[in-house]
Amino acid sequence: DTAVSQTPKYLVTQMGNDKSIKCEQNLGHDTMYWYKQDSKKFLKIMFSYNNKELIINETVPNRFSPKSPDKAHLNLHINSLELGDSAVYFCASSQVETSDEQFFGPGTRLTVL
């Protein structure tokens, strides 16, 4: 049973395209996150949702738009993809928004050509 799942695992696309990454958690957690890990392996938070409500929005270009249809899903839509968007994107969840124990998905490797 996969706790936090992401699709697709790999995504290769051209500059300027629009793409989405889906995330689902079956842990019954209230809070979900999106992180970006760049080529230097730095892992930085992008967004956080608690019960479908946005609670953290780091300095992320507005081309990135998270969408949470319900508290088990947090999808990431990216418009007008740029070369610098190439990275591994991780979805995570935690039981409550103040929890330090977050459960991460397997990651989606996005390559923009």
Binding site: F42, F90, T98, D100, F103, F104
Partner: protein
């Protein structure tokens, strides 16, 4: 958020005990210390968390001195499968966001 400093890399051998130390000189009173592990091509995994003294679970131990300006993650009898990047994080509070540093790449050799 308190800044953390850890060694970039460490080498060890199977069966040894490994201690990874993290410095966090400006840790705040309400801050907790959390360690994560990340294998290649996988998301980070929570290992252990503590506030002071010693915490132990089935995977590791965490030692925190009285001044809390540093902490040591101890992995008993490592195996090849413990080769991973280990991250030390410090912070806590509402709207909490994990801030990962560069981590320590632990390589366990046969």
């Amino acid at each position: 958020l308190a800044k953390t400093t850890q060694p970039i890399s460490m080498d060890s051998y199977e069966g040894q005990e490994v201690n990874i130390t993290c410095s966090h000189n400006n840790i705040a009173t309400n801050d907790y210390i959390t360690w994560y592990q990340q294998f290649p091509s996988q998301g980070p995994r929570f290992i252990i968390q503590g506030y002071k003294t010693k915490v132990t679970n089935e995977v590791a131990s965490l030692f925190i001195p009285a001044d809390r300006k540093s902490s040591t993650l101890s992995l008993p009898r490592v195996s090849l499968s413990d080769t991973a990047v280990y991250y030390c994080l410090v912070g806590r509070g509402s709207n909490y966001k994990l801030t990962f540093g560069k981590g320590t790449l632990l390589t366990v050799n046969p």
